[in-house]
């Protein structure tokens, strides 16, 4: 997938002024505390993905809860990134890729032919493994999306959006005095947070993250993980990760994929203390890769 396509996916026409939905059922922050059942944001039913003849994802049924972090784990080639890319139709750009089944976002079929896919990708933003800031200033990186889609009525509103996005991404303190510097001049961890700021500047509802920390050092990783925990108050997050420890740290629900099958999904604590399927247990305990 080219950089331009990745960028295009992140910057899209936003929904006009829709108020942020309040969380109807957030997962309890305190372990063991009783919480109202979470509302379901995305529903996948019998999703199959083919790359030509290869059946990469098989009959996947999965609910993604609102204002929760759902982690997708599994060995290389298991289909987790493929599934992630289904959620905002990034697989559309792969010629030989074919998707069947149903994926709905707030009840609306995302593969409906009448759906504006650009708008979908505004509601469902994406952050990639390798940070990919635009070759622009820090300010312009974040302002690009709101600017081209006319979210801000004037300069001061745009400033406000940029500032708030950088603040929400936990970056403002480090860059507030150099917003006119190139985004590419930041460290890896800062670049990734800039990409997150860029994604949230267009007011998405869901943020997809494909191994967002694999290129980062442990401290940058910890900062991103802390950020993810803060972001879930306002966004629904789906994260693909190779690190089981990361999945255990950041997510409330974990889905284990293996050879194209969704083997098991459950509360993260349950998956990591007492998984139901022996394949899940085998993978997370390091008995097979």
């Amino acid at each position: 997938m080219s950089d331009a396509t990745q960028v295009a996916a992140q910057v899209a026409t936003p929904a006009t002024g829709a108020p942020k939905a309040t969380a109807t059922g957030t997962s309890a922050a305190v372990p063991g505390a009783q919480a109202a059942p979470a509302a379901v944001k995305i529903v996948a039913r019998d999703v199959n993905v083919f790359y030509g003849e290869k059946h990469a994802l098989k009959h996947v049924d999965l609910d993604i809860n609102e204002n929760e972090v759902t982690a997708l784990i599994g060995p290389s080639g298991c289909g987790k990134s493929t599934f992630l890319r289904c959620l905002n139709r990034m697989n559309d750009v792969i010629d030989i890729c074919r998707v069947t089944g149903s994926i709905t976002l707030d009840g609306t079929d995302v593969y409906d032919t009448s759906l504006d896919v650009v708008q979908l990708r505004a509601r469902v933003g994406m952050v990639f493994q390798k940070p990919n800031p635009f070759p622009k200033t820090i300010y312009d990186n974040v302002a690009y999306g709101p600017r081209i889609h006319g979210i801000a009525r004037n300069k001061s509103e745009l400033d406000e959006i940029v500032h708030r996005s950088l603040e929400r991404a936990g970056l403002i303190k480090e860059v507030h005095d150099r917003l006119d510097q190139p985004g590419t001049g930041l460290s890896g961890g800062q670049q990734q947070r800039l990409c997150i700021a860029r994604a949230i500047a267009v007011n998405p509802e869901v943020i997809l993250m494909d191994e967002p920390c694999s290129a980062l050092d442990p401290i940058a990783t910890a900062k991103i993980e802390e950020l993810i925990d803060e972001l879930r108050e306002n966004f629904t997050i789906v994260i693909v990760t190779h690190s089981m420890q990361q999945a255990a740290r950041v997510s409330q629900r974990t889905a284990f994929f293996h050879l194209g099958d969704l083997v098991e999904v459950g509360d993260t604590e349950q998956i990591f203390t007492n998984p139901k399927d022996s394949r899940t247990q085998g993978y997370i305990t390091g008995r097979f890769g």
């Binding site: 203390t273 007492n274 998984p275």
Partner: protein
Amino acid sequence: MVDQHIVRQFDEELDEMRATIAQMGGMVEQQMANAIMAIGRRDEVMAKRCQEADAEIDAMEDKVEALTLRMLALRQPVALDLRAILAALKIAHNLERMGDYAKNVAKRASALAQLPEVGPINGIVRMGRLTHGIIKDVLDAYSEPNVDKAVTAWTRDQEIDQMYNSLFRELLTYMMEDPRNITACTHLLFVAKNIERIGDHATNIAETLYFQEKGTRLEGLRPKGDRTSYAVVEPPEADEAI
């Protein structure tokens, strides 16, 4: 599911942990047998040996603790592995306490050997043997591992409690009948209590093993049969007194 970890050293560490527990369990079994034998045979030499051997059990608990700490820090264990490591830590502690109680029984054996023999000693020895059998079953259950065996042992704790209840009453009666029995019977009261606590710890091991294997707790309260807290024994009538 394949049994072996991809990183073999992790398996070696887990094996070492389990072997240490098994070794510790064997020592506790032996201590229990020796302590009861010392009581039954009024054997002061055996009693002394038993007391000295307890330090070895304490050292094994330290070893288990070091192994589990290492694995928790370095292996980030989850699921079955995590439960097994936590279980080993708890079981090592239970075994250490059982060893202490066996040592205490041995101490009293030395004192009892110097006192006139009293009838309830036989009951104590039977209670000790019963408990020893249950310890053996629980440790076998851990080695295999065998959850059903653990649950069976778990329910048998009631038998120990029932024996304890009746011994308690018997000892009180003996004391009331003849004050010359008081010293020996008081020692035996403590011995009986120690054995009853050993039984409780064996039951805890069974519960921990269940959790290790199943990931859930044993349902229902453990049948607690120790009624001695409520025991009231009337002194015999004057004309029945010896």
